[in-house]
């Protein structure tokens, strides 16, 4: 029954926090308590001990437990961030509901149920995208509604394609319809498109750019970290359930790899172009999504380990980036509506967090992404030097994009150091306006940013324990053994 508790407890807490949503502080404390309780339960559940509930098997393996703890941690960090960063009135209840849904995805190893749960998470996320703070005096932005609509449509389409693919996979028998295009290729194509939509691979990426640009950073962070990562794990379950899709499809897998390469290159290239800070970050995330999908599509133990490690890194790096972005975008006491160039000086912790998160996403050592990149490059090397070259080029482009963004927005000289003008005739020091005092970064959010940076650094410096767990889990996968 601990399995059910993991799923149902956050739902009950979401209902309670929804009732108390006007009292933001209390709600955040309740949510943090729920997250800690969930982490304790998840840590105590025995591994690989399946239990049957209404004809469906619930189980937790080492990999899924690692990700469940990570999701809960991310949820907890997001709730801490909500203390000082802007968020909607219903952010905490929706966050708890999403945590419950992704926990269910990790526990229920059934592709049909996972698909429906992923679709439900998408619908829940839509509510968060258009959520406004309590008692706000402004109207919800039309761009936010458009972003939510785009996300809703694309996630439902992805779920429908995924569901059709799984129904086809259920009835698929090897050797049927000889002489015609194998059904398994069609199924793989459906799965590739549906998961590309969920993981935001170019050209199915429209929702991610809109979400990062028009939703609150904390909402975007939860959607990208929890929902994208759980989608990737659901894809692993799908491959595990239907290994024939991989063993029968060497050619289509190559096409998937090339698609991922193109997505990676275009994501990095778009990040290099002009645009807002948010858009640049969105494209860097797209680049990383392509990189992770490449590792997955390589269907080798090294590539998969790289993909899973990359997903873990993406989860941490994206949260760090978007929390930092939320801090940077706070009203800073200076005249609004101007593109600032000195954000690192004005917000030292947030600016450093943004840089560190972006570097981790690109895979720069000593941060968390380095190990995953090494594994993915190794997998690409096994598939031939053109693929490796394409990945390295994409990383170079992403790095250039980050340097450009940092140069334009973060590393400029301080805009507050006004040269003292001489006193005018008859003017005294007392006649002059008091020097402007700008507020420092909020302590809780700054501490959160520092902790996230520290975690990214620790994962980068000591990847061993995580890699051992990931490696062991991947070698247990039936389709890896079959290939």
């Amino acid at each position: 029954m601990l399995y059910l508790l993991l799923v149902l407890f956050p739902i009950s807490m979401a209902a309670s926090t929804f009732v108390l949503r006007k009292n933001s502080g209390l709600v955040i404390f309740m949510a943090l308590g729920a997250v800690i309780a969930e982490m304790l339960i998840a840590a105590q559940i025995p591994l690989d001990n399946p239990s049957l509930f209404l004809g469906v098997t619930l189980t937790l393996n080492a990999l899924n437990r690692m990700f469940m703890l990570l999701f809960l941690m991310i949820g907890g960090f997001a709730f801490v961030g909500a203390w000082s960063l802007p968020h909607g009135e219903n952010f905490v209840p929706i966050g708890l509901l999403m945590l419950s849904q992704v926990s269910a995805v990790l526990l229920l190893q059934n592709p049909f149920i996972s698909t429906l749960l992923l679709a439900l998470t998408g619908l829940t996320a839509v509510l968060a995208v258009v959520d406004l703070p309590a008692g706000t005096s402004s109207l919800v932005g039309t761009r936010a509604i458009a972003a939510a609509l785009k996300y809703l449509v694309l996630m439902v389409v992805a779920a429908i394609l995924m569901y059709i693919a799984f129904v086809l996979a259920t009835i698929f028998r090897i050797g049927e319809l000889p002489g015609r295009i194998s059904l398994s290729r069609f199924i793989l194509a459906l799965l590739a498109v549906s998961f590309s939509l969920r993981l935001a691979l170019i050209p199915f990426h429209a929702w991610l750019a809109g979400l990062v640009e028009h939703a609150e950073p904390l909402v975007a962070a939860l959607v990208i970290t929890l929902l994208n990562t759980s989608s990737l794990l659901a894809l692993l379950v799908a491959f595990q359930t239907f290994p024939i899709l991989l063993t029968d499809n060497a050619g289509p897998l190559r096409v998937m790899r090339i698609g991922a390469l193109i997505s990676t290159l275009l994501g990095a290239g778009l990040a290099l172009g002009p645009g807002s800070l948010r858009r640049a970050m969105a494209y860097l995330i797209l680049y990383d999504c392509g990189m992770v999908f490449y590792g997955l599509a390589s269907v080798s133990s090294i590539g998969l380990a790289g993909a899973v490690f990359g997903t873990l890194n993406q989860t941490l790096a994206v949260l760090l980036m978007l929390v930092s972005l939320g801090l940077i975008e706070r009203p800073d006491g200076r005249p609004p509506g101007m593109a600032r160039r000195d954000l690192l000086r004005r917000w030292p912790v947030a600016g450093t967090g943004l840089l560190a998160g972006s570097l981790a996403l690109i895979g720069m050592p000593p941060l968390g992404g380095a190990m995953s990149r090494l594994l993915i490059y190794q997998a690409a090397g096994e598939n031939g030097w053109p693929e490796l070259l394409a990945l390295l080029t994409a990383t170079l482009l992403a790095l250039l994009a980050l340097i450009r963004t940092a140069h334009e927005r973060l590393l400029g000289p301080s805009e507050d150091e006004a040269t003292p003008e001489p006193l005018m005739l008859g003017e005294t020091e007392l006649d002059r306006p008091a020097p402007r005092r700008l507020d420092p970064e909020p302590r809780s959010a700054a501490a959160l940013t520092l902790i996230l940076m520290l975690i990214c650094l620790t994962v980068g410096l000591y990847p061993g324990p995580l890699l051992t767990t990931i490696d062991a889990a991947i070698h247990e996968l039936a389709f890896i053994r079959a290939l």
Partner: protein, 241 residues
């Protein structure tokens, strides 16, 4: 040759959703579509009766009927309460002025958009295309256990996709998504019921119904927000600003 009236009802109601823009027509059509689909899936080749209410029927049919009723009620209540204003007391002068401006723009737009037959040409030919594809695909790529079930799910998914593609307002997009979901629901129920002799698993069925209802809620919520903001559901107004 026996005429399958339920299949005709599914086809006709989905066509109404594809062709027409007025919710007073499309919502009853959606409800009838759910009812026809529920009774279509009640055929003994898919499920065996296990309860006796009005007649012998399967619980699955009852679940589908309740789902359809819930979905239609959610959308209808939303449509009936579009004109109500919520949360105006918190808005500042700028927000109120923007709302007044949006109301004027929407009124002007409605006045300049009389009934035009040309608005129905693209959906009509899209419907013809969907009909052709749905009649052909069950013979080219049969998936469901019967050609009728194949036609039903192909038709629902295709009309759903084409409704989304030809939609000019948010509500039509939502109806298209619901039709697509119904199509997939039909395919899954038809295939799983044939494969599993001992009865279907309750959790995917419950989640499918929950998905329909939550999708309707999400659409209703977005429609309410958009109407409250722009006094129209037109997508070109949404993307104009």
């Amino acid at each position: 040759m026996q005429i399958n009236w339920l299949l005709i009802a599914i086809g006709a109601t989905a066509t109404v959703v594809l062709l027409f823009r007025d919710w007073r027509l499309t919502f009853p059509a959606l409800l009838l579509n759910y009812v026809a689909l529920a009774f279509f899936l009640a055929e003994p080749r898919f499920v065996t009766p296990d309860i006796s209410l009005i007649g012998e029927m399967n619980t699955l049919v009852l679940v589908k009927l309740i789902t359809g009723l819930a979905v239609t009620m959610i959308l209808t209540i939303t449509a009936l309460t579009f004109s109500r204003e919520y949360g105006l007391e918190n808005l500042d002068e700028f927000g109120l002025a923007e709302l007044r401006r949006a109301a004027r723009t929407a009124q002007r737009y409605r006045a300049s958009q009389p009934f035009r037959m040309s608005d129905y040409i693209v959906p009509f030919w899209a419907g013809v295309l969907a009909l052709f594809a749905s009649a052909t695909l069950p013979f080219v790529y049969a998936i469901a256990p019967t050609p009728a079930a194949d036609f039903a799910w192909y038709w629902l998914v295709l009309t759903g996709v084409l409704t989304i593609a030809t939609a000019s307002d948010l509500l039509k997009i939502g109806l298209g998504l619901l039709l697509c979901a119904s199509g997939v629901d039909t395919l899954y129920t038809a295939v799983e019921s044939t494969l599993k002799e001992g009865g279907m698993n309750v959790i995917p069925l419950a989640l499918l119904s929950q998905f329909h209802i939550l999708l309707a809620l999400a659409i209703a919520y977005l429609c309410g927000l958009l109407y409250g903001r722009l006094k129209t559901l037109e997508l070109n107004e949404l993307y104009k600003r």
